[in-house]
Symmetry: C2
Subunit: 260 residues, 2 copies
DNA sequence: CGAATATTTGAGGCCTATCAAAGTGAGTGG
DNA sequence: CCACTCACTTTGATAGGCCTCAAATATTCG
């Protein structure tokens, strides 16, 4: 199921070095630093759908940069319930916490076929220490996750099922690059069970809530593709404030490169 | 209510420079770097209980290091509900996100009388760029927050009211330094309303849940002081895994100082 | 000591969970 | 190319945890 170091058909043109990674695209990394990142040798790994990449409670010695496909972080409670605190899309680091923490307090699992680049923790720390821009980029990644987790906590704590689902769809539309526009459309490779574990509901209720959104004309689905006919209306239902994500996306595109 | 630059009685012996701050105590900062931090001039600010430090949606130009007292970050939804994603205790940075993000997506408010040190964002970034240990410490702070937020998301999404409350008490016992021991006791300056907004319940239900914990002998309260007679039992109810916090606390005390 | 704040109690209702089973669709092997 | 199978989605009925609204009691603080 898992091959190491081999890039399968369809993935040849994908990201192969850290310089093509979100880490280097944030705008904090200078051209010189970026060149240094390009020279770092990193192994690639291909994951089959559903494959576990990090086991909850293990001590991974590498950071996994997700370069293709979707994945998720999850925590299983003692009585067997699962919560997904983070959905990972290409560009994210699967286990950013392990840059500094030894133990992974969550598991990581692929949703679709996915590829990751493996960067040993020690090397990541050395890069951050040597290149201030890289260090700042790591900090930025962590803070961006914070912002998303914070919104997530608000949703789980204070929003209705309908708003949570709507919020998730708004968030993903922006994160995957479809934008906050009418008729935004994107591929959502999540089963209703995964959605349920993400927004803290049961699969059955996710199903009903989804029907509600569809009946109200707030979303349309064809297979795994979601379309948002009227973004502002969905956004209002969701109580979605694009600000936090816009800041993040902006940082990813055109953050200032300050003198170091 | 707020005086700038003045340290009131009872606070004279408190933290006055960044070198005494958690930032410098994490173990990532070398002695040289620490000396540099000690020389950075920072203004102090005293906050009365309930005083707002950062307004949701504003663009603070400084980082606020909480040196005494408790505070919290909060988000208010469109329909007026409030969620507290982060409780801040001395040592934390009130608005760490603003190290990199311009806009504060959450508000910050003092719970008790509190003091903060103000470090302009630009200076913080410069320090991080110049001193790798400082940069790494910032990254560590962000990741530590991630770990806590992740657990919080799990609780809000998948745990019962009883477990959430128990979990909060376990977490705070460790974070304030009372440890995971029987008869751990600490001051909890939170009203039931604040607890409700933290764990995503109504104040009424927090009250009832608290009575439940008391009746079961899992906690005892005298005024604002909480005692945990039997930590393992409470921990089991809470499904509390001390691991994530232990890693964090360990980092705060004895993290390796690597060569830069 | 009085006013404001916080905690506690009570009754009733709603949102979401639970349990169970029927449809639906995609992928597989003959 | 067609059954077959497995996973996923959908539907139905019932239950329960937490919310809502309201008011009484306790506590804090000036």
């Amino acid at each position: 199921m898992t091959t190491a170091g081999t890039i399968p058909p369809g993935h040849e043109h994908r990201i192969r070095t850290l310089a093509d990674t979100r880490l280097a695209r944030l705008g904090f990394v200078s051209p010189v630093e970026r060149a240094a990142l390009a020279k770092v040798e990193v192994a690639a790994r291909l994951l089959a759908p559903g494959k576990e990449l990090v086991r909850q409670g293990s001590t991974p010695d590498s950071l996994y940069f997700l370069t293709a496909g979707w994945a998720f972080r999850y925590v299983v409670t003692r009585d067997g319930a699962r919560q997904i605190p983070t959905l990972l899309i290409p560009g994210g680091v699967c286990n950013l916490d392990n840059l500094i923490l030894e133990r992974a307090d969550f598991g990581v699992r692929a949703i679709t076929t996915a590829t990751v680049l493996m960067l040993p923790r020690e090397r990541a720390l050395a890069l951050a220490a040597k290149h201030p821009g890289v260090g700042r980029a790591f900090t930025w990644l962590a803070i961006a996750e914070n912002a998303i987790l914070t919104q997530w906590a608000v949703g789980l704590g204070r929003r209705s099922a309908l708003a949570r689902l709507a919020h998730l769809i708004c968030e993903l539309s922006i994160r995957v690059g479809s934008g906050a526009i009418n008729n935004a459309s994107f591929d959502l490779p999540l089963t209703q069970e995964l959605i349920a574990d993400t927004i803290g509901l049961t699969p059955v209720h996710v199903n009903r809530t989804m029907q509600h959104l569809r009946a109200a004309g707030l979303i349309a689905t064809r297979g795994r593709t979601v379309t948002i006919p009227n973004f502002p209306r969905l956004q209002e239902i969701a109580d979605f404030d694009a600000g936090y994500l816009h800041q993040i996306e902006k940082g990813a595109v055109a953050a200032p490169v300050r003198a170091t």
